[in-house]
């Protein structure tokens, strides 16, 4: 049978004569060498893995794939180990995208927690109303993406309890946070519903000190430190991915531990 790829009218053989010089220079060795240079080129541009470069995009695609893998690894019933009071670090270790001197304290009386997205009751919350909610305490290991860690004791209302109270859609994909220090963040719903994910108001049984997120911050035992936004001002339940401060700069979004 005639190949469907063969043109109905054969090209004029004279074309070959016209390009004889070019055809003669095609060499296997040359193609191999070209392939090697192409490979070397990827090494050169390897220095630049910003979102714009193809390597940057490939690495971010793998990171997004890793998000899915981590969601599969995450066991919603597995509790993080807890530790004795004697191991609590006082005060906790400060970390942010700026120095501790640049912390801008939040006025707790004027502060309100706004709600948005897939939530039935969007009325804002005051500090006193949140203090009346059931509280859980946990003494857990904080692990920073940089590699350091410490034991801290946090208490506050479990995020699950809060989300149930405001009639949030618990089948939504994400819970996103806005903060007073412009540090947006978002977590997966499975982590939001984990019993060791709190809207913390206390550290070591005392009101949260200013540098550590007064009056309200997130503390989840199953994610790296940077996934715990401080000075939360708004919570949104959503199906739209919204990333976060460090996440948008290349750190892995799920960052479960």
């Amino acid at each position: 049978m005639r190949s469907p790829f063969r043109p109905a009218i054969a090209p004029d053989p004279a074309i070959l004569d016209d390009h004889r010089g070019l055809i003669r220079t095609i060499e296997r060795r040359g193609i191999l060498r070209g392939g090697l240079s192409l490979g070397a080129l990827t090494m050169l541009t390897g220095c630049d893995v910003g979102e714009s470069s193809s390597i940057g995009r490939a690495l971010r695609a793998v990171s997004a794939f890793n998000d899915r893998v981590q969601e599969a690894i995450f066991d919603p019933n597995k509790l993080a180990p807890e530790y004795p009071d004697a191991m609590i670090l006082r005060p906790p270790r400060f970390n942010a995208y700026y120095e501790i001197e640049d912390v801008k304290p939040v006025d707790g009386d004027a502060w309100r927690l706004e709600l948005a997205g897939l939530v039935a009751d969007k009325r804002p919350w005051t500090r006193r109303q949140i203090a009346d909610l059931p509280e859980r305490e946990m003494t857990i290991r904080h692990i920073c993406v940089e590699g350091w860690d410490y034991i801290g004791q946090w208490s506050g209302v479990p995020l699950r309890t809060f989300l149930e109270r405001v009639g949030a859609d618990l089948t939504a994909k994400y819970v996103a946070f806005k903060t007073a220090d412009d540090y947006p963040s978002s977590i997966d719903m499975a982590t939001a519903l984990h019993p060791q994910t709190l809207l913390a108001t206390k550290y070591a049984r005392e009101t949260l000190p200013d540098p550590f997120g007064y009056p309200l911050r997130l503390r989840t035992a199953t994610k790296l430190g940077f996934k715990n936004p401080k000075w939360i001002t708004a919570i949104e339940v959503t199906n739209t991915y919204s990333g976060g401060y460090w996440e948008d700069r290349g750190f892995n979004w799920h960052s479960g531990i």
Partner: protein
């Protein structure tokens, strides 16, 4: 249509008769894939380490780390890990299933090690026969494979210290796991230095890993 038994028999016989090469193609593919994975993992791992060092004054200069800052190093590290793990698993399955590990790496006798070390100190590096590994080589390869497995286990512990909290306790806590991961890296870098230096000193070995090397005779795979 079915192939006649005679043709099948002929193909099978041909395959049996075809002499095996020192490094069959799967070994070569896995070796170079592993080289890319290891170098990427080590270089990016240095970048991650620098963000919070374990030992003061031990850090890696920016010029030799992969990734211009921690987030980029992490992107590289957590992408190359798939190549390392998938390729490494394939290598282990291949090594055990084909008997290559048993043929190449065993047995190791103490007196062979002593003899090899003595020869090496007298600057006699015996490499006339590439198909037989000396005792020190065998030990080095086994240590490197073990360190590779240890890196994957301690790496998983560091990546998921809560989900795999059992591994963390086994490794002496989160910082213990980091220490084990650092030690494994050090062993592998030490191995790489020796491995590459010897490959350059005896270039036939490098050529063999590219082209397959000498054909093995029936005796091959046996012991000295």
């Amino acid at each position: 249509m079915s192939a006649s038994p005679a043709i099948i028999r002929r193909i099978v016989t041909q395959r049996q008769m075809k002499p095996k090469r020192l490094h069959p193609w799967p070994v070569r593919v896995m070796h170079w894939a592993n080289a890319v994975a290891m170098i990427t993992m080590i270089g990016s791992g240095w970048g991650i380490y620098d963000d919070s060092v374990i030992f003061h004054f031990v850090y890696f200069p920016k010029s030799i780390v992969i990734g211009s800052w921690a987030a980029e190093s992490l992107l590289w590290h957590l992408a190359a890990m798939w190549l390392l793990v998938v390729n490494g698993a394939a290598y282990l399955v291949y090594g055990f299933a084909t008997g290559r590990f048993r043929e190449r790496l065993l047995p190791i006798r103490v007196r062979d090690i002593v003899a090899t070390v003595r020869d090496t100190l007298h600057l006699k590096i015996a490499h006339e026969d590439l198909t037989v590994y000396n005792a020190v080589q065998k030990v080095l390869y086994i240590v490197a494979i073990g360190a590779g497995v240890s890196q994957v286990v301690s790496g998983i512990a560091i990546w998921k210290p809560i989900q795999f909290s059992g591994l963390i306790s086994l490794l002496g806590g989160f910082q213990g796991a980091r220490l084990v991961h650092f030690a494994g890296m050090s062993i592998l870098v030490g191995f790489l230095l020796v491995h590459v230096a010897l490959a350059l000193l005896v270039p036939q070995t490098l050529w063999a890993m590219l082209t397959g090397g000498p054909h093995l005779t029936r005796r091959a795979g046996g012991h000295r």
